[in-house]
Symmetry: C2
Subunit: 167 residues, 2 copies
C-alpha cells in the first residue's frame, strides 16, 4: 500500500465521499420517481430527452447515444414505455432500416406531471444545498469528468459543455 | 415551465452535466472491474469494506448500512461472493440471531490483486483530471450532498465527513 500510485489520505477522502454520492444519488432519484410516478430514473430521463427533441421524436440509435445505454437495454426500456402508452416506435421514413421513437401525448403529459416533483428533489439535494459558487465549481468539475467519461461527447451534457470546434 | 420553482438556465446546466456524471461514472467503474476482475463495483466495494474491518468481519446489518444496500440485495451479493470463495457467512458469536460475514484469504487476495487497476481508473478519471483546488472543492461539495443523501450518516464516508457531536 506504499506504492507511489496509491491514493494519499486526502485523495482517499475525496474519493470515498464522492463514491458514496455516486452510490446514493441514483438510488434517491429512482426512489422518488418510482414512488411518485412509477418510473425509474432512466425511464424518466428517456421520456424527458424525447420531450425536448424536435417533433418529440428521435432515432433509437441517437437516443441510445444520448443516454449512453446499449441499444439492447434501451429497447427493453422503450418497450416498457410503449406498453404503458408513453412512447411509440416506428420505422424511420428516411431510412427504413432505422427505427424512430416518438413521445405520445400521454408520454408528454407524464413528463409534465412528473417534472415538478423531480425538480423539487433535485433542488432540495443539490441546488438549495450548495452555494452559487459551489454550483459553478460542480459544473466545471462535472465538465472535466465528462471529458474522460464521454470523450466522444455522445451525451448532450458533454456536447453542451464543449465549445464548438473552430471551422 | 415559467414556474418560479423551475431551474434557471445556469442551474439546468449544472444539473444536466452532473446527472450525466451520475449515469456514466458507475457504468465506467463496473466496466473496468468486470473486465479486469469479474466483479461489479458493488461486489468490489463490499470486499473492500470487509478488508478494512477488524478481523475482516462485519455484521450483515452493519455492512448493509455501510453500503446502503437493502439486506435482501446484500444477501444476494454476499451469496455470490461466498460461492466464489471470497466471503463466508456464519452466526455472530455474541448474538446467534445475527449473521457475520468474513473476508476469506482468497477474498483478501482478490482485493489486493484488484485494487491497483481500480485505483488507476479512479486516478485517470478524477485525481489526475482535477486540480488540487478542484479536488478540495469536490470533497466539500460531496460532504454537503451526503448530508442530504444520508442524513443519518450510515455510510462510512458520511460519518467521516462529519465532526463528532459535542459530548
Amino acid at each position: 500500500m506504499t506504492d507511489a500510485k496509491w491514493l494519499n489520505d486526502e485523495q482517499l477522502v475525496v474519493w470515498t465521499r464522492f463514491v458514496a454520492v455516486l452510490q446514493l444519488f441514483p438510488a434517491a432519484l429512482d426512489a422518488q420517481l418510482e414512488r411518485d410516478a412509477q418510473l425509474t430514473h432512466f425511464e424518466y430521463f428517456t421520456l424527458a430527452m424525447l420531450s425536448e427533441a424536435p417533433q418529440r421524436t428521435m432515432r433509437m440509435t441517437a437516443l441510445a447515444g444520448f443516454t449512453t445505454a446499449s441499444l439492447a437495454r434501451l429497447s427493453r426500456v422503450v418497450s416498457n414505455l410503449e406498453k404503458r402508452g408513453y412512447a411509440k416506435r416506428q420505422p424511420c421514413p428516411e431510412d427504413r432500416r432505422a427505427t424512430n421513437v416518438t413521445l405520445t401525448q400521454d408520454g408528454w403529459q407524464k413528463v409534465v406531471a412528473t417534472a415538478p416533483g423531480h425538480v423539487d428533489l433535485v433542488r432540495s439535494i443539490v441546488i438549495d444545498t450548495l452555494t452559487a459558487e459551489e454550483l459553478t465549481q460542480l459544473s466545471t468539475i462535472s465538465a472535466k469528468l465528462l471529458s474522460k467519461l464521454d470523450p466522444q461527447a455522445r451525451m448532450v451534457a458533454t456536447a453542451r459543455s464543449q465549445t464548438p470546434p473552430p471551422v
